[in-house]
């Protein structure tokens, strides 16, 4: 292929990429433009850039509390997802038991269920959770796990997709390693942790990135369970900002940047495995 034939291709891609990136450039510009100053869609550098919008955003939107809550929930969810579904996926691939195929497909089928189907039951389950938030043993009386970090965590701890990804990954690894260790008298748990888990680093990276973005970005579940600043999350914090009567767009964009930054960083650090994993999961899914 000659370079003269590549040019039109590059031109079209550059144009589309421009259109795709433009809104982000506008966002950046607006975030650094003093409040009240007109933002022109043409130039990209504000005349005198300011950090005031970031200060306003942090002060008025409960962003500090939201960051703390989102961080706790995300870290716990990622940690649990890197163990519980991964070990289950491993067992489905290497230690089949009677009925394991049926069990596997029953678990995986939940991927196809729309969020809204489980949303209301999960809400009621959180509300009536026994012995939490002033509830008695039967889950009556108080507000249960609503408006708490525990309640936020409820739907995130085991991603069904992660069980699937893990089974696919371990099925691709040789069973021979395990056999050898078994003959040497190693227990199953030991075989998993010292033989297979060290081989599964790409899988863990993928599970971690998926869980991280999924939990950090979720909006609907926090929206219905969180009723006060106590359990607000970053996504909620930016929307309450936008719905307050007179919208300060500069500060709103600053808040949006802050909220999106962690995901961007995680993505850029794992870019390769993320995109590769996505396509991989796609083909097999």
């Amino acid at each position: 292929m000659t370079s003269s034939r590549t040019w039109p291709r590059v031109l079209v891609l550059a144009l589309v990429t421009g259109v795709v990136l433009l809104p982000f450039l506008w966002m950046l510009r607006l975030a650094f433009t003093p409040e009240g100053e007109a933002v022109s869609g043409v130039g990209f550098l504000p005349d005198d850039p300011t950090l005031d919008n970031f200060a306003t955003a942090v002060q008025t939107a409960d962003l500090g509390q939201a960051f703390a809550n989102s961080t706790i929930v995300t870290v716990v969810a990622v940690a649990v997802n890197c163990v519980v579904p991964v070990i289950a996926g491993y067992a489905f691939a290497h230690l089949p038991f009677p009925g394991s195929k049926v069990a596997f497909y029953a678990l995986i089928s939940t991927v196809a269920i729309p969020v809204s189907v489980t949303l209301i039951p999960l809400f009621l389950m959180a509300k009536n959770f026994p012995l939490a938030g002033g509830n008695d043993l039967l889950g009556r009386g108080g507000s249960g796990l609503l408006d708490s970090v525990g309640g936020l965590l409820l739907p995130y701890l085991v991603g069904t997709m992660n069980i699937f990804l893990s089974r696919q990954y371990f099925a691709g690894l040789d069973k021979g390693f395990g056999e050898a260790a078994r003959i040497d008298g190693a227990g199953e748990l030991r075989i998993f942790f010292s033989v297979y888990l060290p081989l599964a680093r790409p899988l863990l990276a993928l599970v971690a990135v998926f869980s991280f973005t999924g939990v950090w970005d979720d909006f609907l579940w926090p929206l219905v369970t969180s009723t006060s600043a106590r359990s607000t999350t970053v996504q909620l914090a930016i929307t309450t900002f936008a719905s307050s009567g007179d919208v300060k767009y500069g500060a709103l964009m600053a808040a949006t940047i802050l909220v999106s930054l962690p995901v961007m960083v995680v993505f850029l650090l794992n870019q390769r495995s993320f995109i590769a994993g996505l396509s991989e999961g796609g083909i097999k899914g």
Binding site: V20, F24, S100, I120
Partner: protein, 279 residues
């Protein structure tokens, strides 16, 4: 068995359980602010939905939303994927840059577009440059859903492109060689080699897009709150208001199951359609 147990228990309690619970609720009348528990009323919720013009409209809005976003996201993404399916300098940059809208949360990108569509926003400013009159994009009954759709096209392009690109790379090169020897032109090659090779991925992309689009919520919540006059009230948005503003958990659950059936139906049609394209 022990390895599977924690994950299985969790999924059964917090995923399969809620589905059954939701099914029971959908046959019940239940408001959590009342003291009494759910009351079984059979098919009444579903029957009421049949006569509910609001629900009918929400179904239409959701259907229109899916059908008007889908062709753009798939066709443009396919063209982009084919353009990127060569190695040249900078191709990695294009792939990554186009993927960015996908990794930024729907809530956050909706924030950006909220401003873009606002009265003093960029769209109106650009119109002004050409001497065209301003529009109130999100406050106009005819424009609001289209405005949301345009944003979703923009957001979905990158991830669809990456997936279709991965699909393209599984098409064996020598098939193109063979087609060329047989005298097939570029269009024939596309129909006879590219499309059939891409079928599994195309099916996957179509199905996933339908599932996500038909559940549209955050962007509606941020951009229009379902308005103006219900013109952007998707089924998911209606479920949210029914359950959490009007406390009608039973009828909201019934809506959720109808949406489930609606999504399943659309996906089956999409899968049939993409499989039928066998050249």
């Amino acid at each position: 068995m022990l390895f599977v147990l924690p994950a299985a228990l969790y999924v059964v309690i917090f995923q399969l359980g809620p589905v059954l619970y939701g099914l029971v609720l959908s046959f019940s009348e239940y408001s959590p602010i009342k003291r009494s528990g759910p009351e079984f009323i059979g098919l009444d919720n579903y029957r009421a939905l049949l006569d509910d013009p609001e629900f009918g409209r929400a179904l239409l809005v959701t259907g229109r939303y899916v059908l008007q976003v889908l062709p753009f996201t798939v066709v443009i993404a396919l063209v982009l994927a084919m353009l990127c399916n060569r190695s040249f300098r900078g191709v990695g940059f294009f792939r990554t840059a186009m993927y960015v809208p996908h990794i930024v949360s729907l809530t956050a990108v909706s924030m950006i577009w909220l401003w873009i569509y606002s009265d003093n926003g960029v769209v109106n400013e650009l119109l002004g440059l050409f001497g065209l009159p301003e529009q109130r994009w999100l406050a106009d009954e005819d424009a609001a859903l289209n405005a949301a759709s345009a944003m979703r096209v923009w957001k979905a392009l990158g991830s669809n492109m990456v997936l279709l690109l991965a699909g393209l790379q599984t098409v064996p090169r020598d098939l193109y060689e063979a087609a060329r020897v047989d005298g097939a032109n570029a269009w024939r090659q596309f129909l006879a080699v590219t499309l059939p090779g891409l079928r599994p991925m195309l099916t996957y992309v179509l199905a996933m897009d339908i599932i996500y689009l038909a559940q549209g919520f955050s962007e509606i919540f941020v951009l229009t709150q379902g308005g103006p006059y219900g013109s952007t009230t998707t089924v998911n948005y209606l479920i949210y208001t029914e359950a959490f503003q009007y406390n009608q958990m039973g009828s909201a659950s019934a809506m959720a199951f109808v949406l489930f059936a609606f999504i399943a139906g659309l996906s089956v049609i999409a899968i049939r359609f993409s499989q039928g394209r066998k050249a």
